[in-house]
């Protein structure tokens, strides 16, 4: 289990990295944390001719405040940084809550946000979190840059809207609405394993206590991170226990998880229902506490 031969280039600038990708397209892969790419290379599932190491590009490694309360995160930001960063905790507690579920500390020390998202594993937590938060992604190439809405980004298992000459450079998360509460929950067989089912919930309440905004997104529930329309039924309600139960039941009916060797489709659905109910209740409690 050793990688096939390849050419390694430690990119000295973003422009140089993008030029190599423009020249070699799908034959070149960016190496960030390497926590998904290198195992695939060790198994020879991936055999890129060129590996463009972007770890030296510190301009892609940042967490900063954007306009109107947004949070901007450079693609090379390590998961461990997201776990420890005060601005992430303040502006996007959902990210802070979800990241410790991503594998183990040793993996999070290397693994990056951009690598996680560009890998597009539907079982991964952060794609679902990005979906629940209505984030958007900035792709950069030698031709220029463009923003991609999260709903357009994930196209299938390990498949994204990124073109063969593009690098995922940045993620922007808009500010949460006023009086918002969020919650991430998952069930995994062991700490650090992929979730059998995971849910990210966002709830915001108006001055009158009625729900103004609701999002539910799931990991390991399909070919991409999946959002549930059941969340919409909560808007305008007081999100009391009966309404939360109804939304959870609706989400359970609506989702069509694939089932796998560890959890049948029926069990995954059951987990989705239970986790949705608990996550919504926590999100509502947190929204009320944020007043």
């Amino acid at each position: 289990m050793k990688p096939a031969p390849f050419r390694y280039v430690a990119a000295e600038s973003l422009a140089a990295a993008l030029a190599l990708k423009a020249e070699h397209g799908d034959d070149a892969r960016f190496l960030a944390g390497g926590q998904s790419l290198v195992p695939a290379m060790n198994f020879r599932l991936a055999q890129p001719a060129f590996v463009v190491d972007i770890n030296g590009l510190s301009e892609l490694d940042y967490v900063r405040a954007g306009t109107a309360g947004a949070l901007r995160i450079g693609a090379l930001t390590r998961n461990r940084t997201l776990e420890r960063d005060a601005l992430v905790t303040e502006r996007q507690p959902l990210v802070r809550e979800a990241v410790p579920h991503v594998a183990h500390p040793q993996i999070r020390n290397r693994g990056t946000l951009g690598g996680n998202l560009a890998h597009a594993d539907p079982a991964s937590e952060l794609p679902a979190v990005l979906l629940a938060l209505d984030g958007r992604l900035r792709a950069q190439s030698a031709r220029g840059e463009r923003w991609i809405a999260v709903g357009e980004f994930f196209r299938g298992v390990f498949t994204t809207a990124l073109r063969s000459d593009e690098l995922l450079a940045e993620v922007e998360l808009p500010a949460l609405p006023p009086r918002a509460g969020t919650c991430f929950l998952e069930v995994a067989r062991r700490r650090g394993d992929y979730a059998m089912m995971g849910v990210a919930a966002v709830i915001a309440l108006g001055e009158d206590g009625r729900c103004t905004h609701a999002r539910l997104a799931y990991c390991n529930a399909g070919d991409t991170p999946v959002s549930a329309a059941a969340a919409r039924g909560l808007v305008g309600s007081r999100v009391a226990e009966a309404e939360i139960r109804a939304a959870a039941a609706a989400a359970e009916r609506e989702l069509d998880p694939p089932g796998n060797v560890h959890a049948s489709k029926a069990f995954q659905r059951h987990l989705a229902g239970v986790l949705t109910r608990r996550a919504l209740q926590s999100a509502v409690d947190r929204a009320k506490a944020s007043r």
Partner: protein
């Protein structure tokens, strides 16, 4: 295809090494074969078992998921760098010996390196926190109980150790 080679200058356990390596050489194999530091073990080679855990610029990482070429300009600590001097053990190693924290020993180097960083960050962990911190290191012999005991003992030793 002629193997492409890269110059690597890296500091391992305080010693500076200059070598030329093939692109695809994994950091694990570089440490073991090129530098002769065989304390770092190779287990699964896909980042699951944790046997190859080293400190890379002070943080625990999987050496099997890095290329040797990436270590250029960085510092690495392996289990060989844990003990303060020949003939003396690090408090973590003493604790693992005293609490029977190993049987075959294959996973031990990776666990020690993971726990070195963990105890630096959490000097007084609960048992639950220790178990969670160990979750990225598989041990097929011990059932973990004595490993947990050893880590808690090591934490106590390190807290009591003179600065």
């Amino acid at each position: 295809m002629t193997a492409e080679r890269h110059a690597v200058t890296t500091t391992v356990n305080g010693t500076r090494y200059v070598r030329r390596v093939e692109s695809r050489l994994l950091l694990t194999d570089f440490l073991r074969h090129d530098l002769g530091l065989t304390g770092t073990r190779v287990g699964c080679e896909h980042g699951v078992c944790g046997a190859c855990t080293i400190l890379y610029d002070g943080e625990p990482v999987r050496a099997c998921l890095m290329f040797a070429a990436q270590a250029n300009g960085h510092s690495v600590t392996t289990v060989e760098g844990l003990a303060p001097e020949r003939g003396r053990l690090h408090p973590l190693q003493e604790a693992f010996r005293e609490a029977h924290g190993l049987q075959c020993g294959y996973c031990t180097a990776g666990i020690l390196m993971t726990m070195k960083a963990f105890l630096a960050e959490r000097p007084s962990p609960s048992e639950d926190e220790v178990r969670e911190a160990l979750s990225g290191n598989l041990c097929r012999c011990t059932g973990y109980q004595h490993v947990v005991d050893a880590v808690l003992l090591a934490a106590a030793k390190l807290r009591g150790a003179p600065a």
